[in-house]
């Protein structure tokens, strides 16, 4: 029995998200189907975590156990031949039999793309958040550092029953700009449900002048969702990397 680790890129536009759901097709389901075609086995594919409908990945990680004799590094080619075009395996490798994509993860990196222009983008509509308002980029930049470190992020989450604590550590966070594109990047030990999209929405509300950068410590302190900004939409969000 082998344990195979996959590194996966996907365009989340046409999926209900990573995880199997009643109401549509998930990325996990497409992958399990392809693994079945390639290996003849019904496997359970364990992902590092969920992504919502419309959210993309450049480096999602998942693992499955197999008795197949296909060489681990060849799985990527075999799977890519049996996957729809919006899912691609970037790497396949054998890992120790007890490796678990979710439990063993020690951190994640996400990116978020904002397209700040009066006019929409037809070509990249599913890959960016189009913001037509003028944004005060310098003020947004000031807010960035105030998220860094260990905080109770209750104000930046959608409550779910399965979370014991809202304390998370952000180790790296940055904002960059090139032309009409604003690149947000964040790394941490883990993220709450919708946390990154609420941070990005809050940054945009700061850019529009609805909130100020200096408000951030207080918003964190108040520990209630209503004090933070709006939830940015899924299509600008990318799971970039999972750390082990």
């Amino acid at each position: 029995m082998r344990n195979i680790k996959l590194t996966i890129e996907y365009d989340g536009t046409n999926y209900v998200g990573w995880q199997r759901q009643e109401n549509g097709i998930s990325v996990q389901q497409e992958l399990e189907k392809a693994i079945n075609i390639v290996s003849g086995e019904d496997v359970i594919l364990i992902g590092s975590g969920r992504t919502d409908s419309g959210v993309h990945a450049k480096g999602q990680v998942a693992n499955f156990k197999t008795s197949s004799t296909i060489p681990p590094e060849k799985f990527k080619f075999a799977l890519n031949n049996n996957l729809p075009g919006d899912i691609a395996i970037l790497k396949s490798e054998e890992v120790s039999i007890d490796f678990h994509s979710r439990y063993d993860s020690i951190g994640k990196k996400y990116g978020y793309l904002i397209y700040n222009s009066k006019l929409p983008t037809a070509l990249c509509r599913n890959l960016v958040y189009h913001v037509s308002y003028t944004l005060d980029y310098e003020e947004m930049k000031k807010a960035i550092d105030l998220f860094r470190g260990t905080h109770d992020f209750t104000s930046f989450m959608v409550a779910r029953n399965d979370v014991e604590t809202a304390v998370r550590t952000i180790t790296n966070i940055s904002l960059d700009k090139k032309g009409d594109l604003i690149f947000f990047s964040v790394e941490g030990d883990g993220f709450l449900y919708n946390m990154i999209r609420i941070i990005v929405g809050t940054l945009i509300d700061i850019g529009r002048g609805k909130l100020k950068a200096v408000d951030i410590p207080n918003i964190i302190h108040l520990k209630h969702r209503k004090f933070a900004g709006h939830t940015a939409p899924p299509q600008g969000l990318y799971l970039e990397k999972v750390y082990y």
Copy 2:
């Protein structure tokens, strides 16, 4: 009566192409529908030229005549509000009443994106041509200059009844590389049917070693489609600019 010139970006993936056709929805049709919603008029929208199904535009030009009192520069906002997300008006302006998008065009610029990697791209699958073979970029680069100038491009066209001559002038042509992406760009007074896709396919066949850069003058000289390379697929092609 006003003559309105539109500059249009579109993702051609889900269309039969620019022009109205029996077998599906065209970009032209979506635009005429939006103009009807905004102005109440049934207009004929004249495009600078056709693009095939799957081909994109960053700067397609079209014009229509209207009695509407909507200020010309406001048309873009009104139309964008009534267009699907994969079509966007970048500019709307009033032009002289006899301006004709097709007849008045004196040249066009196209771009073509090649993604050269052993692995596919899920996120950009509709925006690039994925070539998994190793390509000899320097040899492809050598071929580029041999296309420049005025030639009979019969070897690089799909024959159609409506073409009087296959003589065209390429004024600018270039190839650049950044990481796994190869950018092809070409400007000329006009292009034959599939001409750019056959030039790109030929460059790729040169990169693979099936043809040599020094073969190009002879391929042009032989004036038959069978001597050129394969036809590159539509999704890497972009109409960048129309010159007047």
